[in-house]
């Protein structure tokens, strides 16, 4: 029987919405959570929750961003770069968020960040994370799966290069739900996101109170590559749209020679890769400018050990370790 892995309590959790100002489920959910936020005296013994509107200016204008994409500003390089009056709003903001929720990579960082997003792609509910062996993220995923249909997407980036908001916390993931047009709030999508966040918080409370979560295995989609639209060599404009047979088919295996694009003059262009892969972020509005028509992933099984929160003694031993490390 696998040995139980003991992990630190998740004392501080941040729920962030409006990282992209036009992804409205998160914006409205954060607003709603801020309204019902308990006053400090009543605060949960088990966990303290920060509710954050990440990009208020973009939210106000109902745009993805004002100068640059906030959710690409959390690499170590960007967070620690020089400051001037020319620094774009979103970079200033990423540094503020890093102070509030981080600093990234330090012991002061919040334990868990849950960043709320929408996509125009037909992806349903997804957790997106940088690790395929962060047991907290994977156990949360498995718990969610028992309650709602959900998938786990893994972007294989080392922490320093991880560019999005959730990489600031000790653990973190994005909750991505689609399809929803940007600037629109759909009731079913909002309800799903609200339920998802509730389940995450329930899991955190169970975990902190000592529950053992059994080991097991889960399916994970690991991002392999992106495919751009075909473009005009001079103007760089797209010359085709996602093919009707691929549109909305996120996570349906794409085989070599399957239709990928339909040109505006009606021609079909096919997938030239050799390996069948799982497509996602198919026809995401914000990715036209990033040169991504769709992303492709491999699917694999990941085994997770049983986990339980560390005892008080184990937490204290940890603190002594930190202290003595600092002395050295």
């Amino acid at each position: 029987r696998a040995k139980v892995v003991h992990l630190s309590r998740l004392s501080r959790v941040a729920v962030c919405g409006g990282t992209h100002g036009n992804e409205l489920s998160g914006v409205y959910l954060v607003r709603e959570l801020q309204k019902t936020e308990k006053p400090l005296e009543e605060e949960d013994e088990l966990v303290s929750v920060l509710v954050v509107l990440s990009n208020p200016r973009a939210v106000q204008q109902c745009r993805r961003y004002t100068e640059t994409d906030l959710n690409r500003c959390f690499t170590h390089a960007t967070l620690n770069g020089p400051e001037s009056d020319k620094t774009p709003y979103e970079i200033t903001r990423s540094r503020e968020l890093n102070s509030l929720l981080g600093p990234k990579g330090s012991p002061e960082a919040v334990d868990l960040i849950c960043d709320l997003h929408n996509t125009t792609a037909n992806m349903g509910l997804c957790l997106i994370a940088y690790s395929d062996h962060d047991w907290i993220c994977l156990h949360i995923f498995r718990y969610l799966q028992a309650n709602i249909p959900v998938r786990y997407i893994h972007f294989d980036f080392p922490p320093k290069e991880a560019y999005s908001l959730e990489s600031v916390g000790k653990h973190g993931f994005a909750i991505e739900i689609g399809p929803q047009p940007h600037g629109v709030v759909r009731s079913n999508i909002y309800t799903t996101m609200k339920a998802g966040v509730q389940h995450v918080m329930d899991w955190v409370r169970f975990f902190n109170s000592g529950t053992i979560f059994e080991g097991g295995s889960v399916e994970v989609y690991t991002m392999v590559k992106n495919i751009d639209y075909p473009r005009d060599s001079e103007t760089h404009s797209i010359t085709a749209a996602i093919h009707p047979q691929l549109q909305d088919q996120d996570f349906c295996l794409l085989h070599p020679n399957d239709p990928l694009f339909q040109t505006f003059s009606g021609e079909t262009l096919r997938y030239k890769g050799k390996e069948p892969l799982y497509p996602f972020f198919i026809n995401e509005c914000a990715y036209y400018e990033k040169g991504i028509a769709l992303s492709l992933a491999r699917r694999k099984c990941v085994k997770m050990p049983p986990i339980q929160v560390k005892t008080e003694l184990e937490h204290q031993e940890n603190e002594w370790e930190f202290a003595s490390e600092e002395d050295e």
């Binding site: 399809p179 600037g183 629109v184 009731s187 909002y190 749209a241 505006f264 509005c285």
Partner: protein, 296 residues
């Protein structure tokens, strides 16, 4: 049965990008310009990118909604240095395609739009005109087309509205549907010009009656509720008193009060700022005469 003779439709304009982020029309116009489509049989075709700056920025508009700038008041006021870009553009388009109400105006203008609402393909026009109604009747026989009369001020005699499609996204199925409708429109015009008589009869139209806004916080003006899941995507399905229309963020249902009407533009992205959650229309049966082209 009444019969009407009308002048030939020899000059047709097709406009896309009136809203810069409604992409089917943008790409249809770009493709037509790439293929240098200028003449189809008896018809001379002018393709226009209505709001190029908004198209470039992939925004609905830069300063003000172009599609609200075609009133007589706005078009007759002089252009100055402080005139917003879209008003300037409206003047330019009016000169190029009109002037509105004059002899030099295009015979038919078709303006291409998308909506985030689940409206399928719609033909929209501002006044009852037999050409648009016959085009609609013809389209109905070849694809599924609900229709309504709008009280919006449009320069253009006919608009195609196709949804659902998110702003800033081009879906191949929506593009194909719009393109097919446009091809049928051109076919119809050619047949009309060639002397064919189109039989009259009855057509169904949805006539705009009123709009309903979202419930809002009186201080912040923010939405306190969103389109109810039972209304979402139910454009053109009869709404009865007592039917749910909104679901508040705290979980309460708001029910519709009023006479039985047909909702459309349900949850259109661009209408949040216009304080419209959905429009309501009466279904009307219109009787149209048969039409044929005038003999010179």
């Amino acid at each position: 049965m009444e019969h009407v003779s009308l002048p030939a439709l020899s000059r047709v304009a097709i406009c896309g990008g009136t809203h810069g982020n409604e992409l089917s029309g943008v790409w249809i116009v770009r493709e037509m310009q790439k293929q240098q489509v200028e003449k189809v049989g008896s018809i001379s075709i002018t393709t226009v990118m209505s709001n190029p700056r908004a198209v470039e920025a992939c925004k609905r508009y830069m300063e003000t909604d172009l599609n609200r700038c075609f009133t007589d008041a706005i078009l007759s006021a002089p252009v100055t240095d402080v005139t917003p870009y879209e008003v300037r553009r409206a003047h330019e388009l009016n000169a190029q395609l009109g002037p509105k109400g004059s002899q030099e105006a295009m015979d038919l203008v078709c303006d291409l739009h998308n909506t985030t609402a689940n409206m399928g393909l719609c033909v929209i026009f501002t006044t009852f005109n037999w050409i648009s109604l016959h085009i609609y009747k013809y389209l109905k026989s070849v694809c599924v087309v609900p229709e309504f009369v709008s009280e919006l001020f449009l320069l253009f005699s006919t608009a195609f509205e196709v949804g659902p499609q998110p702003n800033g996204v081009v879906r191949a199925d929506i593009y194909n549907l719009m393109k097919e409708a446009l091809d049928h429109l051109v076919d119809w015009v050619q047949e009309f010009n060639s002397g064919i008589t189109f039989e009259g009869g009855e057509v169904e139209a949805y006539v705009f009656e009123k709009s309903i806004d979202y419930p809002r916080d009186p201080d912040t003006n923010e939405l306190t509720a969103i389109i109810h899941p039972q209304l979402q995507d139910k454009d053109f399905i009869l709404l009865k008193p007592g039917d749910p229309i909104f679901l508040s963020f705290s979980g309460e249902t708001v029910k519709y009060e009023g006479k039985e009407l047909y909702p459309f533009f349900v949850n259109e992205c661009a209408y949040y700022e216009k304080h419209i959650a959905f429009h309501l229309a009466q279904k009307t049966i219109l009787t149209i005469p048969s039409v044929s082209v005038e003999n010179d």
